[in-house]
Amino acid sequence: MSFLELSGLRKSYGPVGARVAAVDGVDLAVASGGRTAIVGPSGCGKTTLLRLIAGFERPDAGSIELDGTRLAGPDAFVPAYRRPIGLVAQDGALFPHLSIAANIGFGIARDAPDRQARIAELVRLVGLDEAFLQRRPHQLSGGQQQRVALARALARKPRLMLLDEPFSALDTGLRASMRKAVAGVLEAAGVTTILVTHDQAEALSFADQVAVMRAGSLIQAGTPRDLYLRPRNRMVAEFLGEAIILPARIEDGRAHCLLGVVPVDSTVRHEAAEILLRPEQIGLEAGAAAPAGGVDVVVTDSEFSGPTCTLSVRVANGAGEAGALVLRRAAAGAPEVGTSARLTVSGSAHLLD
């Protein structure tokens, strides 16, 4: 039994005749207490999906159920302010005319007896000092503003928390630590969370379920590991990380491709398929240390960029096929241009649709 259930959700914008579907038939189930990331390129409809869940938009079709209660559907619509759902927006959306204390207390009834105590507790919960309470939003840094926004959203004890790219406005260094802190706070509070982001690394590290969205539809949903190693198609594969995609012939659980014969996670016979290898599966050894097996390559170009370098290699395999590959390697010990090396594949390839 899932906690949040979206079925057949649809939402279009624009004038009649030129309507564009921003969300085009989305089905998604989120388990209680889980962290789900919805990831996709900008304009894929992920923010609209979030706004539908929050209740800022009314779906054209489909339904949203939270813990058995119907929030939106053909015959029901609960407006945003009556949904037990919190939201942290891209840049925090703190009220500029209110102090931090008033911002955090915005969702707490003004006559609640423990109001001050709860505000103080919340600000500590997100790792800020109580001295911040008297300040104004513009006196805080971006990361601090996001923490306040999180505290403000937690004040109402929401059952579901929506995070709309809350880390994208932060510096790269701060982003990872904020992600960890937010995940920790939400985990401790036991709140089911949905994160919307265009950053695949963020999605993979934050969530226990990742859903890849494109052009209004969810292409694939699953655990981060599953999605990374066994993406359904080329788009998902390339979106989630560097991918080496090769044409191959599949026979007896083996793929015959440019890099020789590689084990594959499918036993179906296939004459013209595409297989996926992640760069970390490919080994490249030059000179005497070259192991047996694999294929011979010649390095044709090398582009140095600090810790890594990008190598272009020309491959010629035993079957008489030839081609070129681009690989990123650790810069230390990478073969020079013009030298030959031996390329090996570890693990098995994944068959793409």
Partner: protein, 526 residues
């Protein structure tokens, strides 16, 4: 505040440039100081006359029942008309900017259009339709109809700029639509409301023609009466002194109400588009409200003008008189606009390129002087020229200087906005290419700010076109502008003969009002 943070930044970069171009800064600073000193003349003069009159005479002239009566009138007018304007403007602005009201763009324009009708023509229209209309009620009604666009413009611009993420955040925190409006939307309109309310309040203090028609006495009408009966006696000057005190009280009140809060968007990134609220069954009542406001603020004046023109037939179009009035008005409007814009250049440049203590003091002075009613400026210039510079009394030069003093803030504001958009790098590049500082300034920044200067000139010209009090008191003998001709005819209850002048003034103001409307859209980035 963001503005002050920005200005310290600019100041820092300006001071680093000072060594490169000390000459330019001092010339322009000197010009700005001269303009400001000139602007301070009326204020200083009234104060000086008060001191010269002596405490006992002054007290006798100030603490008398007549002044108390005027004070009560003024207070009631402000207390009733300004909040009414504010409430009406917020409702209309929210409906045009944030709801799915049918024809919202058209209604928005119709909410600005009443500005094209000078206040005294509003009043003229109402008096001829409802002849018994007079007193406080009439004054408030016509004031609200004539001046609410001054509040509608900034409030609607502020509503367009509001970040919808804040309203979403409030809704996600469990606040219903009404609670969100009063706790999040309205507080953010505070600056726009304060600025607009100040503008309306100052106009109410300065307005003359409107209140004469509905026989409601304010300080301005009393000063003009006094001036017409006893010329520039101490009584008129003392009344002007009380009027100045009222203006400063309004300025102080606005500063208090404005506070020092920050209302700018916190954080980065572009704001999301606004989702219009659905009116549902309330659509028809809302449309009715707009129809009513349009009917009262535009329908009444246009109907009256049309009716009198119809009744007057062809013979009210005395073309020789009308063309003479057009000629006089054009000369005064263009001359005044040019002078005000030229005088505004140093101040506007200073406030963008070299902000600092001098600039703040000068700007504060100009701001205060800009708040003074035309009647005070005129009275001061009359007294000054009659006592010390008689050859200048009732000359073109004096009336143009009066216009410049009255409308300088309009010119500065327009110019400043466009100078701010001309990058300082261009000025530096021009100097780098061998132009002398002033030449570089002229060939880059001044050129680039031409649209802003033109807009400022248009606004000044609009002000002069509809100016009555100062023109009446200061213009050379025989001057007959459109406004003066209208005033003379309507004073003789020859409403039909006044109608062509009213029509021309409205027709000339409409394009300028359109410009205002477009500018406010641009300021909101649309």
């Amino acid at each position: 505040m963001q503005a002050s943070a920005d200005s310290t930044l600019i100041a820092a970069s300006a001071s680093s440039r000072q060594s490169a171009a000390p000459l330019r800064l001092s010339w322009i600073g000197l010009a700005a100081v001269l303009v400001t000193l000139l602007a301070l003349i009326p204020l200083g003069f009234i104060l000086w006359v008060t001191v010269q009159t002596g405490w006992e005479t002054a007290a006798a002239l100030i603490f008398r029942p007549r002044v108390g009566e005027l004070l009560v009138n003024t207070l009631l007018l402000e207390v009733l008309a300004v909040p009414a304007c504010a409430a009406l403007s917020v409702a209309l602005a929210w409906l045009t900017e944030r709801s799915d009201l049918p024809g919202a763009r058209l209604w928005a324009w119709l909410c600005v259009a009443p500005l094209a009708v000078p206040a005294f023509i509003h009043s003229y229209a109402w008096v001829t339709i409802v002849p018994g209309l007079n007193g406080l009620g009439a004054g408030v009604l016509v004031s609200v109809l004539a001046y609410f666009p001054f509040l509608y413009l900034p409030v609607s611009a502020a509503l367009r700029r509001l970040d919808p993420a804040l309203e979403d955040a409030a809704a996600a925190l469990g606040h219903g639509p009404w609670s969100v409006f009063f706790r999040v939307v309205l507080p953010q309109l505070r600056l726009a409301l304060c600025g607009g309310a100040l503008l309306v309040g100052l106009h109410l203090l300065a307005e003359y023609g409107l209140f004469v028609f509905v026989r409601f006495d304010t300080f301005t009408t009393a000063i003009v009466d006094q001036f017409q009966s006893t010329f520039n006696g101490p009584a008129a000057n003392m009344l002007a002194g009380v009027l100045i005190a009222c203006c400063f009280a309004l300025l102080a009140l606005e500063m208090l109400a404005r506070g020092d809060e920050r209302y700018a968007r916190v954080g980065s990134g572009a704001a999301r588009r606004l989702v219009p609220a659905s009116l549902g069954r309330a659509t028809w009542p809302c449309l009715l409200l707009f129809a009513l406001v349009t009917l009262l603020s535009l329908g009444v004046p246009f109907y009256t003008i049309a009716r009198w023109l119809w009744a007057g037939g062809l013979q009210v179009w005395r073309l020789d008189e009308i063309s003479a009035a057009l000629g006089h008005t054009t000369v005064l409007a263009l001359g005044g606009a040019l002078l005000a814009t030229l005088a505004a250049i140093p101040m506007a440049w200073l406030s963008i390129r070299a902000p600092g203590r001098l600039q703040r003091v000068l700007e504060g002075c100009n701001y205060m002087v800009g708040a003074l009613p035309g009647v005070v400026v005129a009275l001061a210039l009359v007294t000054l020229t009659v006592r010390y510079l008689l050859p200048l009394y009732q000359t073109l030069a004096t009336i143009l200087v009066a216009y410049m003093l009255m409308f300088l803030p309009r010119a500065i504001i327009s110019l400043r906005a466009s100078i701010a958009q001309a990058p300082v790098e261009l000025e530096q590049a021009a100097m780098n290419l061998g132009r002398k500082p002033l030449d570089a300034l002229w060939s880059t920044t001044i050129r680039l700010s031409a649209p802003g200067a033109a807009a400022g000139m248009a606004l000044v010209a609009l002000g002069i076109l509809n100016e009555l009090t100062a023109t009446q008191m200061l213009a050379p003998n025989g001057t007959r502008t459109l406004a003066l001709a209208f005033w003379a005819y309507s004073g003789e209850i020859d409403y039909a003969a006044a109608a062509p002048y009213a029509l021309i003034m409205v027709a000339a103001s409409l394009p300028l009002t359109w410009l205002l409307y477009v500018q406010s859209k641009k300021m909101a980035g649309q």
